[in-house]
């Protein structure tokens, strides 16, 4: 019973939060809340999808919040000359370029990803301020922004549908494809992966580009939704995203993680925030409560993973016949 509860700790906490909130807060348990909750988690969520891949590969990217801002700004700045669609694509590509820069420094030059992306985080943030002269830039089409906020079928905004699609896509890729399994192998032990003929460097580089591309896409969507490209966007984002991914059971050390876990992590954070906002809990208490629950979940994760079978890793391990060290 206890082991089962620990194994399903993320859905359990999510369910508990939702049940308590709907019992205590009037109007919490409605479709509107769900729809708006999904919409608010989709910015964090899309970035978290990219970061899940990168964390499984054993790397980290602290610059996602800055890339989020830069991509949005690029998209908004180009709107007058290129139109909505093309400028948005260019904005996302700016994210990909940022990822390629991170990937190049980490993989080719061989600098630790924490240090690299700490530096590029500052550089990209400065670029955001430089491009905009530190002022938010208005987009050209406020009506489209209002359209972006529209809830379809009572449940989805365009953004939240994209986020859920990305989760499903990532889940299938990680669990059903050989490339997905190789990613776990690369994250578990790069040397072993190299030795068994996996192009580890390519996977690592690709992971950086993927993470930044999704951060860019999330930033462009945010700018379209708010009709603004702002140099301060995403400054609070990175910590929340890493928290969501880690709560979902993905390890900072690499080699372990799942898309559904990340979905759970994102939803837990969104549900906690929304429930506390609904009851007007001051922001600083909110952060204490969120922090405590985060620590609790991560400790539970360690206890469970320490005693039990290691998931995710074992499939990849069997595939290549590796002998894993116990964590």
């Amino acid at each position: 019973m206890f082991a089962t509860l620990m194994r399903y700790r993320v859905p359990a906490i999510l369910a508990l939060t939702l049940i308590i909130a709907s019992l205590l807060v009037p109007d919490f348990a409605t479709l509107t809340t769900l729809a708006l909750g999904l919409d608010r988690s989709s910015a964090i969520g899309l970035v978290a999808v990219g970061l899940t891949v990168l964390l499984i590969a054993g790397q980290i990217d602290l610059s996602v919040g800055s890339v989020f801002a830069v991509s949005g700004i690029v998209a908004v700045m180009l709107q007058p000359s290129l139109g909505l669609l093309v400028s948005s694509i260019v904005g996302v590509l700016a994210g990909s370029l940022a990822g390629a820069i991170n990937g190049f420094i980490v993989v080719r030059i061989g600098i630790n990803s924490l240090v690299t992306t700490l530096a590029t985080m500052l550089v990209f943030r400065s670029i955001a301020h430089w491009l905009t002269d530190s002022q938010p830039i208005p987009g050209t089409n406020i009506l489209f922004s209002i359209q972006m906020s529209h809830i379809y079928a009572g449940l989805f905004t365009l953004r939240s549908a994209l986020f859920l699609a990305a989760i499903v896509g990532l889940h299938l890729w990680l669990t059903r494809t050989v490339a997905g399994r190789y990613l776990f192998a690369v994250g578990s032990s790069r040397a072993a992966a190299d030795a068994s003929g996996i192009a580890a460097q390519r996977y690592l580089f690709g992971s950086f580009v993927f993470a930044s591309t999704l951060a860019g896409a999330a930033g462009v969507l945010q700018s379209l939704t708010t009709n603004t490209g702002s140099p301060v966007y995403g400054s609070e984002l990175t910590v929340a995203v890493i928290a969501a991914v880690v709560v979902g059971g993905t390890r900072l050390e690499g080699g372990i993680g799942s898309a559904l876990g990340t979905l759970g992590g994102v939803l837990v954070i969104a549900a906690l925030t929304t429930a506390m906002e609904f009851s007007s809990v001051p922001a600083y208490y909110q952060q204490v409560v969120s922090g405590v629950i985060l620590i609790l979940l991560i400790v539970l994760d360690r206890l469970f993973q320490g005693n039990g079978r290691v998931r995710g890793r074992s499939d990849a391990a069997r595939l290549k016949g590796f002998q894993w060290r116990r964590s």
Binding site: L24, P138, I146, T226, S230, T274, A283
Partner: protein, 311 residues
């Protein structure tokens, strides 16, 4: 199990917060921050006045993060608030959220900081100080004390924030209008934070040193940051004439002691009260003006003993 006790604690807190709500009309108040020299007294005055008027306030703090604020508007809508008071930190970003509130039949007003003109169809009113006028008043004061010439630095608030844009814009435009010979050496953002202003000022003093003949800070806390940095670097050398805004108590002390030249009194109490009173009128079906300002007073050594500090 520990997590149950934790959650039970949270649940009790939530219960206490919500029991009072039944019956009264709920106003969703998306404020700039919980703990801030100006925002806190404004929030408190708003809450006190609301209790007097029999309104329930659901208070959400953005902690100066625009993205949080845009998401909190969603919470207000989902919570089916009867009205929204928004403290905007960006001229554009909240418009879709306010439009969504309007679709849901929830009237919204802005407090304290302005937004772009496109917001007008979506709000009933904007209450609070005219920040552009404050910038102009600060320009007149600094221009006067410097005799229409000299080199200055501007310590601005948060990038892109409506208050910052207004206070800097009004200041710069007014200098131009006055034909002033004042030259701006640099403008830095210190996010209305004393500590950040201290750090930024150290850099400015290192870079420009004695070239700095005057200082315009977007609020008194940042003016304090500059004064502290100056004393650190220059000891007892007189501080260049420093102009702040907000009229807080310690700025009054600095004006008396000569460390600061002037401030502009803008009362957070009146700011908070006016917003909730306006919302109460809207909920009673009364018409309200689209722009409701609060009074402003320039304070220098000449009148420092006749004026009440704002907070």
């Amino acid at each position: 199990m520990r997590k149950f006790t934790r959650l039970a604690g949270l649940a009790t807190a939530a219960l206490l917060a919500t029991t009072a709500i039944a019956g009264a009309k709920t106003v969703c108040y998306v404020t700039a921050a919980d703990s801030h020299a100006y925002a806190t007294p404004a929030n408190e005055a708003l809450a006190a006045k609301a209790a007097e008027l029999g309104l329930e306030v659901l208070s959400l703090s953005q902690n100066f993060d625009v993205q949080t604020g845009t998401e909190q508007l969603n919470t207000c809508i989902a919570r089916k608030a009867d009205a929204i008071i928004l403290w905007p930190l960006d001229p554009q970003a909240y418009i879709p959220g306010l439009a969504r509130a309007q679709q849901a039949g929830i009237p919204s007003i802005l407090i304290n900081s302005p937004m772009a003109d496109e917001v007008k169809p979506f709000i009933k009113s904007f209450t609070g100080p005219d920040v552009y006028e404050e910038g102009e008043m600060a320009a007149v004061a600094l221009n006067e004390v410097l005799g229409g010439k000299g080199k200055i630095v501007i310590i601005a608030g948060q990038a892109g924030n409506g208050t910052t844009l207004g206070r800097v814009g009004g200041f710069v435009d007014k200098l131009k209008e006055l034909g002033s010979g004042i030259e701006i050496l640099d403008t830095v953002n210190a996010d209305f934070d004393q500590q950040k202003a201290l750090v930024a000022s150290r850099d400015l003093i290192t870079r420009f040193g004695d070239q700095i003949e005057g200082v315009y800070a977007n609020d008194d806390t940042m003016a304090r940051g500059f004064i502290d940095a100056w004393k650190e670097a220059r000891g007892d050398a007189p501080v260049p004439p420093t102009v702040g805004i907000n009229g807080q108590r310690d700025a009054f002390d600095s004006i008396r002691s000569g460390e600061m030249y002037s401030t502009i009194v803008q009362s957070p109490k009146l700011d908070g009260e006016l917003a909730i009173e306006t919302v109460a009128k809207i909920l009673n079906g009364e018409e309200v003006g689209e722009r409701l300002p609060i009074p402003l007073t320039v304070v220098t050594k000449a009148n420092v003993d006749q004026v009440e500090p704002a907070f």
